[in-house]
Symmetry: C2
Subunit: 246 residues, 2 copies
Amino acid sequence: MHITSEQRLDDGVRERAFTLGDIPGFLWTPGSASASGPVPLILLGHPTLGLARMYPRLAARARHSAAQGFATATIELPGCGDRPRWHAMEQTRAELRRTLQAGEPVGDELVDALILPLVDKAVPEWQAALDALLALPEIGGPVGYSGGVISIGIRLAAVEPRIAAAGLFAGSYVPRIMFEEARQVTIPLHVLLQWDDEGNDRQAALDLFDAFGAAEKTLEANMGGHTGVPQFAGEAAAQFFTRHLK
Amino acid sequence: MHITSEQRLDDGVRERAFTLGDIPGFLWTPGSASASGPVPLILLGHPTLGLARMYPRLAARARHSAAQGFATATIELPGCGDRPRWHAMEQTRAELRRTLQAGEPVGDELVDALILPLVDKAVPEWQAALDALLALPEIGGPVGYSGGVISIGIRLAAVEPRIAAAGLFAGSYVPRIMFEEARQVTIPLHVLLQWDDEGNDRQAALDLFDAFGAAEKTLEANMGGHTGVPQFAGEAAAQFFTRHLK
């Protein structure tokens, strides 16, 4: 992990931009007042829009978490932002746009093509990031995963024993096979669902919640569309992490 | 309203038992340290098991609410506890027991017979209790309704303008017609659902949540059966009332 720049945000939060091989990322750690000794880490998941575009929302989540004594980190997803174009992903995304514009249903095959290669490629990268981040003296365990892409969160929660709790956002297409992987997820879960999310299949989200193998899982559904998650829902998710990572 | 007894609980909460006509009830108000001036009121709904049997759980909810500066109150439901037996209700309950023991489905007609007369009789009583409680100098508005029987909460929220927010528990049979009344409910709602509630139809609970006309409504679903609501869910409901009644 190579630190490429560093700054202090207004509230004392330390923000480091880094690269891990050719993958850019960010690490945020609490200001000295909020933390003494190693702090637990939350990995911030995000959609495939690129880190630059997601930065304001990610930094806001990072500052909120820092105020509660959490470090947070995120990395760019494969084929997104400044990372090399990924031809297969570009093609399936173009196919998705065509399908949606034509008002046709998004079939299982397209969902698989959109999500499964992304999960296969991203999850080992997040695990490598975890190796590097946990080697820093100021970062301790346990580790949480927060946000979308929900299939990345499911796979990580299923295969990575260092992830102790996950706050997932049911807002993206979920391949059928991920329902099987969901049964392997036994860590505590907090799942956010936007009830009127235009691009999301509500029944599939409810079925996915049902499929998770966790003994403690909470579904919190709120009104509004994909980007309309209310502030109090963010706070409930934060309390979930405080309960499980502190 | 006639106060029949009064005591201070360990944490300074003032508990008054009262009768309103022939209806027994309880009022809990915060200890002097937690409140100055009139406090908002939460009506504590409960199942048809009788106040004596429900007392420990109701008093625990009351103390938790008092610590956050809320008064709470509850009254006995018609035909329950020490109130006169209600022949029609006894008959439909016996019919429900027979149906469940025979492993037969509980039909719409039986659900209507179980719930609608109860709602028709209980709601005006809760409104009368509200008149009496709001006349006390230590009780101010706004008012919340919390708990089951969910159909009583729906009707109250629909017809009683003094109810400003409702935390409902999706754990009892809901007559079809209540889905129509749910569309009239526009106050903020926080709905708890126990995902594996044996006696509750999960899909009906999700449909009911969908039917509510409120612009702000949250569904919180947790694992476990009817009586297994986790402590953190109670805290989320408390935060909901703090957001809307303070």
